[in-house]
């Protein structure tokens, strides 16, 4: 299933690249985000040229991850976990910007196929549930993601100048995870997608943060011993300092 999906996506992108070769050209002010210890969000400018008239839609999808979802219910006056389900390939981040509100593009089917718009995001999991229950879980996940600030429910705006140049601002909160972020740009005309362009933003850990992360994941034991050693030295030094200070 997954291989088929990857194959289809590749084919889709490939075919679209042929069709769209020169219809959309786009670039970022910067296509790399470094997460260091001082990181508190990033703003990127995304801009490009379209070679035809129409509406531009830009969607940003963060690296997909597997999540376990727990559902709380009130039982005898107490909120307790009643059920849990596992979902796969859930985007960790989602943002969409468009020249017009999505429901005014008159392209609902095309948006659904291309997973544009929060309600069109697709992911797998809980296949044993009937569709109605599954949809409840899915909308629960999406609502929670919005509360966590990972999905942006408000649509961003795109300005088109000279009917050819478009630009939009992409916002990333400090909660983003590292990985490849997919930016899809669609040109929609009379309800049909006439061109697609896929670009990537690479988000990676950097500097001290990256060093700590690498060591913690690759040399856990040494990292743990060093962490303890540092805490001991620190505790001892402070105690000595204050003792001398008081004496």
């Amino acid at each position: 299933m997954r291989i088929l999906l990857i194959f289809l996506t590749t084919l889709f992108v490939y075919v679209n690249n042929i069709i769209a070769k020169d219809i959309i050209m786009a670039d970022f002010s910067k296509n790399k985000i470094n997460i260091d210890v001082g990181f508190n969000g990033a703003k990127l400018l995304f801009f490009g040229v379209i070679d035809d008239e129409g509406d531009v839609v830009v969607s940003v999808t963060g690296p997909r991850e597997s999540i376990k979802v727990r559902k709380k219910e009130r039982k005898l006056g107490l909120w307790i976990n009643t059920d849990f389900k596992t979902f796969y390939d859930v985007p960790s981040y989602y943002f969409v910007a468009s020249t017009k509100p999505l429901d005014q593009l008159n392209a609902n089917e095309a948006l659904r196929i291309n997973q544009i718009g929060i309600k069109n995001i697709r992911f797998e999991g809980a296949e044993e549930e009937v569709k109605k229950d599954r949809d409840l879980w899915k909308s629960g996940i999406i609502d929670t993601m919005i509360k966590l600030g990972r999905y942006t429910p408000e649509q961003g705006s795109i300005n088109i100048s000279n009917q050819r140049l478009f630009k939009t601002e992409l916002n990333f909160s400090s909660e983003i995870i590292d990985g490849a972020y997919i930016v899809d740009t669609l040109l929609i005309k009379e309800g049909n997608v006439i061109a697609v362009k896929r670009s990537f933003i690479n988000v990676s850990k950097y500097g001290l943060g990256e060093k700590i992360y690498t060591m913690a994941t690759e040399k856990g034991l040494i990292y743990g011993i060093l962490a303890v050693f540092f805490a001991l030295v620190f505790g001892f030094t402070v105690n000595e300092t204050i003792r001398r200070f008081n004496a």
Binding site: G38, A216, L221, Y223, A231, F236
Partner: protein
Amino acid sequence: MEIYLPIAEISQNIFFLLSIGFIAGILSGMFGVGGGFMTTPILILGGVPPAIAVGSEANHIVGSSLTGFLNYFRRKNVDTLMGLILLIGGVLGSTTGVYLFRFLAVKGRIEEVISFAYILFLAVVGLYMLLESLRTRKKKKSGSLMKLHVHGWIHGLPFRIKFRRSKLYISIIPPLLISFVIGILASIMGVGGGFILVPAMIYLLGMSTQVVIGTSLMQVLFVSITSTIMHAYVNQTVDVILSSLLLFGGVLGVQMGALIVQKISGEVLRMLLGIIIICLCLFLISNLIINPNSIYVLDIIR
């Protein structure tokens, strides 16, 4: 001012973390508890993933408990022999606890079991400490001070040892048993266990409050060293940036706590700890009753 925590993969306010560390430090200096029973829930509420809150908290306690321990050690307010015996029981108990945790987790529904056990424990310990300290205070005022602990049959079991610092001559079986049970609870709840150990040492073993704090800090220090290394090695859940910030806030708090302790008497100290434990208990109960922010909770699987 925000800082990005590389293992927790979120940003947190520096001053928020420093003040949590400071409060934990005061608790640790005053009562000989690690403070994990209080800081871990606060960190989780602040958005730190639970596993990372527990792992980094353990690392933080290593530093703050050492600072406090050294203070008491210099004043000879540590019963090293008792600490050693408690440590043996604690390590055996927490190892058993890790396996019990896994067993319960496989059976499902472990979270409810933990939170109810936690609330029950806090309520019993907190109320008992509060009532006892009030009674002692009353008696002290009327002048008829009673002996704190009654020598029960349990203290007279075989393998009796003289604990000079604690002024006790009791069997080593009760301290071993108590620390074993607390070790199990501690690893299931993800805390150091000091907040249960301190009342147990006072009321069940009959040690004097002054020695209890230093001895408890000794046990907390070694347990937290072990669990930091285990968490880092097995789960990779120790965030040194997070624990360093807690530590920076904590060391000052520990010193302040140790100073406050010198100014107040044993029963007032027990009363304060009792009140704090009851407050935490009420807070946890309110979390179960008040409508949650979100009825769905997402855990990312790595």
